[in-house]
């Protein structure tokens, strides 16, 4: 085991800022990317269901005499 304690682990031998700055940036980037993709997907689904609804209504209107 490399670390005597948790504070030792977070200090990273005095390089904590650089090491954790790298890994936190990676974490933020990846989570951010996933959130963006999900948001985009939700927007598209909303648009599509709107289109679907309107076309169905139009079809209903056409069939009623």
């Amino acid at each position: 085991m490399n670390w005597a304690s948790w504070s030792d682990f977070f200090a990273m031998g005095g390089y904590g800022f650089y090491v954790w700055g790298s890994y936190l940036a990676a974490l933020f980037c990846m989570i951010g990317e996933i959130v963006l993709v999900f948001n985009h997907r939700r927007t598209i689904h909303k648009q599509l269901s709107l289109i679907h609804k309107t076309t169905q209504q139009e079809q209903n209107n056409e069939t009623t005499p």
């Binding site: 490399n2 090491v19 940036a25 599509l48």
Partner: protein, 245 residues
């Protein structure tokens, strides 16, 4: 067993296949990240020269590899789309670009945070750093160009051309440390020489690289699915999909 691969070149069947594969890739990526980080932080020993600062390598090198690999993969799909006029290939190329740009940014960012304590500077106009920065601009240029063109098929073609021209930058990045005698160190892992690192360090780096691959597969497939829905919204199968959900 004969698999009809052409079946999956249709966006509709690719959409459902990708939907099944995303959870597998996500779970694998997560597991590999956990294992890779565990080995990297708890098993790999302290470096005698760089102390603990070297642990940045476990994210820096995989991110830099991914930035180059993903560019090649993106350019290949774009080229296939350009040559055979296949819609799906171009959609995949479009879906890869943001992830590639993200990894390029990460490689530069983690490199800066590593450069400061080791070289004494965040940034130098070193051959490798500069060519990697150009790679970031190529990704951004590809995305900006595609976003600026309204007709998706024309955007695909314009993007493919810029992606293919940019491929010339990849060997420049890779060989930059050989061609120019600059600050960035040589290749950590090469095919011709035995590795210059402890086995546990190498193991962690490879596991992290594999995790980044799995992450990329998952997120690119998710983005491709969204692009498919967006572009194919006028087709029967998408409206049927909406009817069922």
């Amino acid at each position: 067993m004969a698999i009809n691969w052409f079946k999956y070149s249709s966006p509709a069947s690719f959409y459902s296949l990708a939907g099944k594969m995303i959870p597998i890739f996500s779970i694998t990526a997560f597991a590999l990240f956990v294992v890779g980080l565990y080995i990297g932080f708890f098993v790999a020993p302290t470096d005698f020269q760089q102390s603990e600062a070297y642990r940045i390598i476990f994210i820096h090198v995989p991110a830099a590899w991914m930035s180059m690999f993903l560019y090649l993969v993106m350019a290949s799909w774009a080229a296939i789309g350009l040559a055979f006029n296949t819609r799906l290939s171009s959609m995949i190329a479009t879906a890869i670009a943001p992830t590639g740009a993200m990894f390029t940014f990460l490689a530069l960012w983690t490199g800066a945070l590593w450069g400061k304590p080791m070289w004494g500077t965040w940034w130098v106009w070193d051959a490798r750093l500069t060519s990697e920065l150009i790679l970031l601009f190529l990704y951004i240029g590809f995305m900006a160009l595609q976003a600026a063109i309204d007709d998706p098929r024309r955007a695909d073609k314009a993007g493919a051309v810029i992606a293919l021209v940019g491929v010339v930058n990849i060997p420049i990045i890779y060989f930059s440390v050989k061609w120019w005698n600059t600050l960035h160190q040589g290749a950590t892992v090469s095919l011709t020489q035995s590795p210059k690192m402890a086995t546990t360090m190498l193991t962690s780096m490879f596991i992290m690289a594999l995790a980044c691959w799995m992450y990329s597969f998952a997120v690119v497939l998710m983005r491709t699915r969204t692009i498919i829905l967006e572009r194919e919204r006028h087709t029967m199968w998408v409206s049927e999909l909406q009817g069922t959900t």
